[in-house]
């Protein structure tokens, strides 16, 4: 562990390639990265959780011999393959962008954080191999062996994202290297990978994976439910995906609290941006809504002492404010504050929906009757997606102006190349078409009768 207080005093490394000088298109580069990331991250959710859901269904089929389970598992595995294919190509964009947009970041710190990606590469490889065997192997490989071929997909979906989250954790909690005379020395790659942020980011993201994929899939079946398609096939599809999402939702509240307290401890300025807290306060209030203007949060609803309770589990706890660092080291407050609140409110709403479902099941052993519940589930999928993206905006924009927290600024990492805005427009059109195409494809798939698989 390096002493961040001390590190902030030394000049940050100019890096392997030297300072890029002023880059007028820095914001374009950041937007391009954000856009690529926002497109990729929902697919990661499916990579984390969907194989386990598919395998759960196949396991039920193997145990009971009920063909409904098999039909669903087969159908879901097709969706899984499409999600994986799109995830492969959008993930490739992210690896290119490490060099195309942030060459000085990678040139300076590649040897520190690169190990995580090397390991992720292998996970990804094994995932690609077994997902192909699994999906193309239906009815061609003996059932039990086919089930076994799905297990590596589940494991690698988890290990792959573990490594990438390790790198993101490291960017927020940089460790495993020293800075001497503006140069990175004494690199300890394993220490960098297993940094103190890995655990909470990992669990937070995994639970989000189950929430997002679970609610999106459940939304499809809830819509069919509302339209009166209530046969066993649709019922099983709904119950499996919804139960998984609803078990994850309350857990996420607890994990989110853990994550926020770690941030309060290690990145107090980031937490201050979450809450638009200008000055260090004892017994700080929590503000719902509001716009940060001239060093204060205006037009919000304040709840006394709640922020101190959340950040410190103590109503009189001290919460550090933005002004503990100079203005040029503060993140942009409004986007961070807004996205943080969106995430928290959606997360809470999803947990309430989940509580309703779980209570009905526990007390009455049946599904809720109300149409509004199913409308809620239909809305929950897109909302979970919004919360996911808002959460990543919170942590990534909240880390600004640093790419490596307190060590390297994003403006030092960026490429010195011209024409970033052209690339930005190009990529935006590409992603928009891809989104339309994937949506169209999944819709088409959902309309085919399941017997056709």
């Amino acid at each position: 562990m390096i002493d961040l207080g001390l590190l902030a005093q030394v000049a940050p490394p100019s890096g392997g390639l030297g300072d890029p000088g002023p880059q007028p298109d820095l914001l374009d580069a950041r937007q391009m990265q954000a856009m690529s990331f926002m497109f990729h991250i929902p697919l990661v959710c499916f990579g984390i959780s969907f194989p386990a859901m598919v395998l759960f269904l196949e396991g039920l089929w193997l145990r009971t011999g009920d063909p409904v389970y098999k039909r669903l598992a087969k159908r879901w595995s097709k969706v899984m393959l499409i999600m994986f294919a799109v995830g492969v190509v959008t993930g490739t964009v992210l690896s290119f962008e490490f060099g195309l947009l942030w060459p000085n970041f990678t040139a300076t710190f590649g040897e520190v954080f690169g190990l995580g990606f090397a390991l992720e590469g292998f996970s990804f490889f094994i995932e690609a191999i077994f997902i192909a065997i699994y999906v193309y192997g239906w009815d061609r490989i003996r059932p039990r062996l086919h089930f076994l071929c799905g297990i590596p997909v589940v494991i690698t979906g988890i290990t792959g994202s573990l490594m990438v989250i390790g790198v993101n954790g490291w960017m927020n909690n940089p460790t495993g290297f020293d800075v001497h005379g503006g140069k990175v020395t004494n690199v300890r790659p394993w220490e960098a990978l297993f940094n103190d942020y890995l655990a909470h980011e990992l669990v937070h993201m995994y639970v989000a994976g189950y929430l997002v994929a679970g609610f999106i899939v459940a939304g499809v079946y809830a819509r069919a439910w509302l339209k009166g398609r209530r046969d066993r096939y649709h019922r099983v599809g709904l119950v499996v995906s919804l139960t998984i999402a609803c078990l994850a939702a309350p857990v996420q509240l607890v994990v989110g609290d853990w994550a926020a307290r770690t941030v309060a401890d290690r990145q107090p300025v980031k937490l201050a941006a979450f809450e638009g807290l200008a000055n260090t306060e004892k017994g700080a209030e929590f503000t719902i809504g509001g716009i940060y203007e001239d060093g204060a949060l205006e037009y919000g609803i304040s709840i006394p002492k709640l922020l101190s309770v959340l950040a410190d589990h103590d109503p009189n706890g001290v919460v550090k404010g933005l002004n503990t660092v100079p203005k040029e080291d503060q993140p942009p407050v409004n986007p961070v504050h807004l996205s943080f609140q969106v995430m928290v409110f959606i997360g809470t709403g999803l947990a309430a929906l989940a509580a309703l479902y779980l209570l009905t099941w526990w007390r009455k052993r049946r599904l809720p009757h109300s149409k509004w519940f199913y409308r809620g589930v239909v809305a929950a999928g897109p909302l979970a997606l919004v919360a996911l993206i808002a959460g990543w905006v919170t942590t990534e924009v909240g880390r600004q102006p640093w790419v490596v927290y307190d060590v390297m600024r994003t403006s030092q990492a960026v490429t010195a190349a011209d024409g970033l805005e052209i690339g930005y427009v190009f990529l935006a059109v590409l992603y928009a078409s891809l989104a339309v195409a994937v949506f169209w494809l999944l819709r088409r798939l959902s309309r085919q009768p399941a017997e056709a698989d």
């Binding site: 799109v86 490739t92 690896s95 290119f96 590649g110 090397a118 690609a128 192909a132 193309y136």
Partner: protein
């Protein structure tokens, strides 16, 4: 240790060139297959052969990139930032190719299949061209150390870049035709065997001529690289490549497609490995040697340990995939692409 890391990177690059290169080549044959009815049979075979393997084949690129930036970070940053135009093009091409291929499998009308097929096939040609041009830029010594310090255009529009770009497209087409001829034989479709055999022979001749022309361009444009290719280990690789290429022609002629697969692969691998020997000790010719470019020992050790562990799991998995594929266990029913849309 830096040498071992470079070796791994080149092994990965060769695997990518052979496997994903062939997938791109399949797109080339898809593009040139002709109208919906005439090309339907070729396109159906392309779909059936690529389906189960293209994603795994693509991952070699990720493998190469991550080893590159972990083991040789400064060279990575310099090359990616200077060669941003072709690499951006390759990146867009990868997205379009993969997405359009996956989507075409679900097309409901001939019109949709034709539109998606055009995107798939065009991006399959552009992507290897851009990647080849970028590699050619490195070989031609157009990448200085620094953040986007090279020329964004001449770094990849110089003669060597253009040549390597075209060679990459031709190589993929050649390998792909060899592989597809073998797959067609296994599927028991003699007309497609004949069609791909003819394409493989034609592509083999074109690729061989391009490679020979390439040597002439290299001798005038990059004399140091030429010296490397015509002496020592570089020369051995070039000879191996030439002999393997000639042997593959003979194997194709006599219809032994299974062996031709390996002959064709060896011919291509010879060129990649020969290039590395030819520009040794430089990673970025004239700018950065391998030792200067290498990350610290701790990182290299950690990378090698993880790669070794990773390979322990990866190699048996790959073996399982390809043995299932080559034994036809994952084969889907063959269907000409246009047939689905006929009443």
């Amino acid at each position: 240790m830096a040498e071992v890391c470079l070796g791994l990177m080149i092994a990965g690059l060769t695997a990518y060139g052979l496997l994903a290169g062939a997938d791109f080549g399949a797109g080339f044959w898809d593009l040139t297959a002709g109208g919906a009815r005439r090309g339907g049979r070729v396109r159906g075979m392309v779909k059936r052969s690529m389906g189960p393997v293209w994603e795994a084949n693509h991952v070699w690129l990720i493998f190469v990139l991550v080893i590159f930036w972990t083991a040789f970070p400064v060279a990575f940053g310099s090359a990616m930032s200077t060669l941003y135009v072709p690499l951006f093009g390759a990146m867009v091409g990868i997205v379009l190719r993969g997405a359009a291929f996956a989507l075409r499998g679900q097309a409901a009308t001939m019109g949709e299949a034709r539109g998606l097929g055009a995107v798939f096939a065009l991006s399959s040609v552009l992507t290897p061209f851009f990647m080849g041009a970028a590699l050619g830029g490195v070989a031609a010594g157009e990448v200085p150390v620094g953040n986007a310090q090279g020329d964004p255009w001449s770094s990849w529009t110089n003669p060597i870049s253009l040549l390597v770009g075209v060679l990459a497209v031709a190589t993929g087409a050649y390998l792909s035709a060899v592989f597809l001829a073998g797959d067609s034989e296994r599927a028991g479709l003699p007309d497609l065997v004949a069609a791909f055999r003819a394409r493989a022979l034609g592509a083999a001749v074109v690729t061989g001529l391009l490679a020979a022309a390439g040597l002439a361009v290299v001798s005038s444009e990059a004399p140091d690289l030429f010296d490397g290719l015509t002496s020592g280990a570089g020369l051995v690789c070039v000879i191996v490549s030439g002999v393997a290429g000639a042997a593959t022609l003979a194997l194709l002629w006599t219809g032994r497609f299974f062996l031709a697969r390996f002959g064709g692969a060896l011919a291509v691998a010879g060129v990649t490995v020969g290039w590395v020997f030819a520009q040794s000790p430089y990673l970025l010719p004239g700018e950065l040697t391998l030792d200067q470019a290498a990350a610290g020992d701790a990182t290299l050790t950690a990378t090698l340990v993880s790669v070794a562990l990773g390979l322990l799991v990866l190699l048996p998995s790959l073996w399982l995939l390809y043995s299932l594929v080559l034994r036809g266990r994952l084969d889907q029913a063959y269907e000409p692409l246009d047939q689905r849309f006929r009443p």
